[in-house]
Symmetry: C2
Subunit: 704 residues, 2 copies
């Protein structure tokens, strides 16, 4: 990456110092404003700066670890300078810069121009502008006219990140940072409905807009047949609508309310460890919650019963490559975190809609394109949920059952990335386990298809509407500190014992444990039950002498289908292995690299792993990949039922027994369940509750 | 299997005809008694019969399908004779019989002696008797004396199914049907505690008891070292206890109640379709619920929105082979359904303990060893649960979110098989999906191990206690009727397109669909995203012309590790493939065969598949295998946190859009969530709720 240095030794420009903030506290509104002011001060006063990111520059681990150690010990914490990280353009140019601002010293520490092949994420203002530019363009309007749409029809433009195919990317003026706009119409029979599902009515006209000149540079006509033939737009045939808004449906009337009630309040506590940083304690867990533009929720300094577990946990990246090989679809491969941002795309969650029960909301502050603070209300919800039975045993001799329920604490954030939604949640339980859950929902990215045909890279989900196959590949970044910072990654495998005098019946099997010594990409192998664990080899379980560990439960997935020479593969550096392990290096946070928009590869976890660093008992970072190959069903339209993927981190010989053994028993006096009042055919009131909450008898009627 | 015919043409013995029961209705108490009376009538009056099973003989599919068709059409249903199926021994002999009793005609239709290598399941009375016999045996007591246990120490005997290794099984008098008893002590320091966890104190003495003579035939001394050396029992060292009962723990005090409240009652309806059969309707679903000795819950005749989906669904079998190759552990391979019975082992569920919310319980009636009806109260609980968000989309232009919650209907049964528990549940949702969930919990099967050593086939979970590795392999039987009875099994695979002029960037991929024509075992292949679907090729989706289908979401698992020549492998005929498909044949219900106790293989799904029947557009039965290789952690002791496995059946181009699109929106007026009252440091009361339930602002305090 070529860098053009600009002078950073600026005169002190004054302004009051930021008030003390914890080194992990997200930037405050004041700090954001102060950062923008300092960056603007680098340039002549008439310079129009387009701010992309103004976020916390997290302290180096070498600085932060002693700070946190002192904090936990109740000692005086060392001073750490407060810094912000900034990405910005000189507006309407390709002049992309990244800067580090020392807020403690009120000065710019670092400011470089990036490029030529580096591009920043899109921002909300820009997307709205690009939508409009595409629709106002005379050339685009001339193409649309060929469709002979009914009067009053509303056209919608969805700008997409342009993607990369290595052909001319960024080399020519008109191939620099671009948006590919996909056009749709709202149901012409219901044009006034602003929430009509335009994805059911895609058009074949696709303008390309320059993010620099803010002009249409090209108009692609999309292929709509079985091959890559391009046909001139012809008069549009209006198909039936396919709406998702409730008023378009005869809603079910037989669903009765189900309320979650916590009469004594919730069991968790939330405090602020800084103005924008939240500390959560619940059921022996304690951790800090941050929130940034790109990753959304970040968990820091996760402890259980006072023992350190994880230094930092976050969703690091995701990539969604599509299967349609035809221009311009071949470039569709979204990095929703790097190209857009899981933080900035977070929904404003609503009570009683997005979570159930006793909910606590966290809000955040990010930045807009002017460098002003942007309030992100209710972008995380925190609540408890009942996770079913946690453990149970009945002594069949005495009939006594011991049973506890599995209470879970959920931190949830929901992001909307244009057509699509992800519901992202960290879930903690009472058995020392953390689960990261992704629910994929929202609307398929659709494209027009001629009637009566099918293609083997997509599913027709509505007349004239194709949903191309695509993969969702996620990378969860796990920076561990199990009983300390020197950890190792190992994997267990189960193998049959060979037949021998010792195993004469051929049934024996053993488990071998193999330490991973070198940074690299590693894979699951279900046939040998390969299971990765993060261990502290210097801390042994007091009962069985095994190294304390957490294992990684992650479902296998089909790796990226695009071939190794493709730009999809080069760019999504995490998409080819279930597990990557690298040696910790400050700033290596995003598996696909810091700048994913029109990226060309070489800047993510695969490249870092290629350093072949020693990771044994060093400070490994473990990158856990998971995903789905989404072969759309018609049932996924107009909005798809959630598809759920879970990754769990579970203790293995870390504690000395089931950590949930001290959970109070599940009892009626606590849970207050009731007998369901059945249909009217049923004779009610005949159930008798015994001493221990058991139902002695329930009489049922017969309809025969 | 050799069969010895006994006369079945008996004189009519009178007694009133059973009242009419639906052909799928489980046997009534009267029918059980009547069956026993008829069977006893076959034999001289002083014959002591040990009844193992008295259960419904389900009608042949050829008879039942027209019956159900008429029933759904509201037409007169054809008469179907009511029959029961019986397995019994002449008590204290090896004379095992199976019989079919025609209850409509009050006569025995079929009665054969089975053997010599066929053995029935254990029953509760027998197990209690065997426990006692082992402990009262003078030879066993002499061995126990060598342990020099403290006065008052209580010994516990856990009889296990003997297993098979092919050596002398059933050939000699003293090698017929046997129990292997594993002995434990209750904590000698707390001998009065009847619910003390004896699994934390295993002994090395293991008596073998004949189920026929009810005598100890052999006393095994268990190996306790790193090899198979057998050491004479020596004085027992009392280790600390490891209890699971709540009074043994300082319970957490910071967990606040979480109640599930349905102020208007539950949304489902339960009626009786026969005296013991229950019909459930909920959210467009309707199905019948049966319950039997072996499978526990069985679902029949499952419809969604009036369309037929599944003819019969049940857990068909499970096998738990252990990894320790040493005698007698090498024979440990439990078939919990065939050796014991998921029905007869079902817990009596308690309100507020095993389910949360508005609960409806189903009870059942099975038989005891005398042929008397045995009441099984509350063996199934039915309730609704909130499954999180069902689907969501936010229009980023208008900010309007459409969101529904995923309400689920759960039918749950919990079984205790000696030390271990399984929580088994069918879950239905509003998107036309069925999930079968297994939660594995309970106590590990433990064995003694010398202090200070470790072995590679087990984990030390407590001082002196080894939990051997083992696999849990389940088989879910799916008998489909998607829009009719002629269905097919197909599998999809995703493959990269080769590079070509059509795919110049190497990113394209396609999905191929392959029909399965022949019965056999088939496997998942994550690397090609192989996904099995059940299809009706004669019914096409009206929008996209694809065959209507349901796909099978099942996680891959490590197949049985025991080698192909081993008796473990021969017996667990389902344990070697993810999917089996067979042509429907009446009576083929249990993947491991009808009689699993000390079985020798050749009688299960692998054998049926070997007929190589055509299954294309015939009436296929699909057997879905799943499981875990349980490498115990110390955290799994004394009772393990639930390990959850899910198998889902999801529509694929079966409907014409998301079936849950008509679920009413998730709204605060319906859900009645509240803002959590946080810790006292927090200033409460500052949150304002807006018009749509959104939280306008929540002020948070700072603790800095």
């Amino acid at each position: 990456m070529a860098m053009e240095q600009v002078p950073v030794s600026l005169p002190f420009v004054g302004g009051k110092k930021a008030t003390f903030q914890h080194p992990l506290g997200p930037l405050t509104a004041n700090e954001i404003s102060e950062t923008a002011r300092l960056v603007k001060g680098l340039w002549p006063s008439n310079t129009n700066i387009q701010f992309k990111t103004i976020t916390l520059q997290e302290p180096d681990k070498a600085e932060l670890v002693p700070f946190l150690a002192a904090e936990h010990a109740g000692q005086q914490t060392p001073a750490i300078e407060r810094k912000s990280f900034v990405v910005y353009y000189i507006r309407n140019t390709d002049k992309l810069h990244e800067a580090i601002v020392n807020l403690s010293l009120d000065k710019i520490e670092h400011n470089v121009r990036l490029g030529p092949f580096v591009h920043s994420n899109a921002d909300g203002e820009e997307i709205i502008a690009v939508e409009k530019i595409a629709l106002e363009d005379a050339g685009v309007q001339a193409e649309i006219a060929k469709l002979q749409l009914p009067e009053g029809t509303v056209i919608i433009s969805d700008p997409w990140i342009y993607g990369s195919d290595g052909i001319n990317d960024g080399l020519f003026v008109d191939e620099k940072r671009m948006f590919q706009c996909f056009l749709y119409v709202r149901d012409p029979n219901n044009s006034g409905e602003v929430d009509s599902n335009h994805y059911a009515m895609p058009l074949s006209i696709s303008p390309v807009v320059s993010a620099e000149t803010l002009k249409v540079t090209r108009i692609d006509i999309l292929p709509t047949g079985v091959d890559n033939t391009i046909k001139e737009p012809t008069p549009y045939k209006v198909q039936p609508a396919n709406e998702y808004i409730p008023e378009a449906h005869n809603l079910r009337t037989d669903l009765k309310p189900l309320n979650v009630v916590q009469p004594e309040g919730a069991s968790f506590q939330v405090t602020n460890f800084s103005e924008q940083g939240h500390a959560v304690t619940w059921q022996k867990w304690e951790f800090k919650v941050g929130f940034n533009f790109r990753e959304g929720m970040v968990l820091y300094d996760v402890h259980y019963a006072g023992r350190p577990l994880f230094y930092r946990l976050s969703l690091s990246d995701m990539n969604i490559p599509y299967a349609d090989p035809r221009h311009p679809y071949h470039k569709k491969a979204a990095f929703d975190l790097g190209d857009a941002g899981a933080g900035i795309m977070a929904n404003n969650l609503q009570l009683g809609c997005d979570c159930l029960g006793s909910i606590h909301y966290l809000s955040a502050v990010l930045n807009d394109d002017k460098g002003e603070p942007l309030q992100m209300p209710n972008c995380i919800c925190i609540h408890e949920q009942d996770g079913g039975i946690g453990w149970k045993h009945t002594n069949y001799r005495t009939g006594r059952a011991a049973v506890v329920r599995n209470r879970e604490l959920v931190l949830q954030s929901i992001i909307t990335v244009s057509n699509y939604e992800y519901i992202l949640a960290f879930q903690f339980n009472q058995a020392g386990e953390i689960t990261y859950e992704v629910r994929a929902t929202g609307i398929l990215s659709t494209q027009p298809i001629d009637e009566g045909i099918s293609v083997p890279w997509g599913t027709v989900v509505h007349p004239g509407v194709l949903a191309a196959f695509h993969q969702h590949i996620f990378s969860l970044r796990v920076d561990p500190m199990l009983d300390g910072h020197h950890n190792r990654l190992v994997y267990d495998e189960a193998h049959p014992m060979p037949r021998s005098d010792f195993n004469p019946h051929g049934i024996g099997y053993t488990v071998t444990e193999t330490p991973v010594t070198t940074a690299g990409g590693y894979d699951l192998d279900v046939d040998v039950n390969r299971t990765f664990k993060i261990q502290n080899a210097s801390v042994k379980n007091p009962i069985n002498g095994k190294s304390v560990a957490y294992k990684i439960h992650v479902p296998p997935f089909q790796k990226m289908l695009a071939d190794k020479e493709s730009f999809h593969h080069k760019r999504a550096e995490f998409a080819d292995h279930n597990i990557y392990v690298t040696s910790h290096k400050d700033g290596e946070l995003y598996a696909g690299g810091k700048y994913t928009n029109q990226s060309r590869g070489g800047t993510g976890v695969r490249s870092w792993a290629d350093r072949k660093d020693n990771v044994l008992d060093a400070e490994p970072v473990v990158w856990v990949q998971f995903g789905i190959n989404h072969i759309p069903r018609i049932e996924d339209f107009p909005v798809m039922p959630c598809e759920i993927i879970k990754v769990s981190l579970k203790p293995v010989n870390f504690f000395d027994k089931n950590p949930a053994i001290d959970v109070p028993p599940s009892e009626q006096s606590f849970n207050k369940s009731v007998l369901a009042s059945m249909n009217h055919a049923q004779e009610a009131g005949e159930a008798v509750i015994g001493q221990n909450g058991e139902v002695c008898c329930v009489k049922e009627s017969s309809k025969l």
